[in-house]
Symmetry: C2
Subunit: 139 residues, 2 copies
DNA sequence: CTTGACCTTGGACATGGCTCCAAGGTGTAG
DNA sequence: CTACACCTTGGAGCCATGTCCAAGGTCAAG
């Protein structure tokens, strides 16, 4: 008895997106064209679910679909490709690090200011202090 | 002798954006309507430069213009507003923390895998391992 | 007074990333 | 056999975030 096939609707639901989104990803080449049933329904492998989830996660982390595509476009793996895997991974790592640092600085000044406001909830200067936060985060 | 006025072109250049972007921000209410010269040129205060820089920084950190607007929309500061400053700031902080954590997890698994690949540059399993990275980052 | 760099406006266009729609085929439960 | 939920396609529409354009006004330098 064969498993019941993973069709687009179930895939979408499992991945937390809409079927249209899956088709859209296929159109732009982010997902490979899946096999089809005799009647033309798309049938997906488990791996596709992981892939879609990864795409969404990467997006949430601030990567564009283009960047995700670069990261994921690693088919066939000669030593040439291995080098490029490493290059892409290293580039991604560097980007990630720098995003991380900025985000940390922002969080720190935000949380410092928040603590200060809570200790001394002055009515009058809050706006000015918020501006200070803004500036400090923008430094 | 009055300072020479900060017009849109100079503001834009100083902030690293185009004049059109400044006008766009004004249209959507992200910047207040500036004063004008007799002939209708927009004249900006220094503070606007800081504000634009903040907007860009916040965007780079992954906040949408809508979110930036919520953060910045704090005019008038009665105690009511103070509470909302705190609420917004706390919300922003929470969002930032969670972004930060995801990004950290991603960076960590990326860098672990990178190190592993470098130590043992096998030809055959790289793609599979990359998939593993993907999955681990997606967990 | 001319030239050239700047400014104004309203509106069109672009890109990324979906999201929806209409018209129709498929498949299964009752 | 009928209902109903699901699938197909191509194409249109939508939101965010700009970006460009044309026609015209302003202003300082030469």
């Amino acid at each position: 008895m064969t498993e019941k096939p993973l069709l687009i609707g179930r895939l979408a639901k499992l991945a937390g997106v809409k079927p249209d989104t899956i088709r859209f990803y296929e159109r732009i080449g982010l997902l490979l064209k899946p096999s089809r049933t005799a009647s033309g329904y798309r049938v997906y492998a488990e791996a596709t679910l992981r892939r879609v989830r990864f795409i969404r996660k990467a997006q949430a982390l601030g990567f564009s679909l283009d960047e995700v595509q670069r990261i994921l476009s690693l088919h066939g793996c000669g030593s040439e490709t291995c080098r490029s895997v490493l290059a892409i991974a290293e580039g991604t790592l560097a980007e990630t690090e720098s995003k991380l640092q900025e985000l940390e600085r922002f969080r720190d000044s935000l949380s410092r200011n928040l603590a200060r406001w809570k200790r001394a909830p002055k009515r009058k200067t809050t706006l000015a202090e918020f501006c200070t936060l803004i500036e400090s985060a923008s430094g």
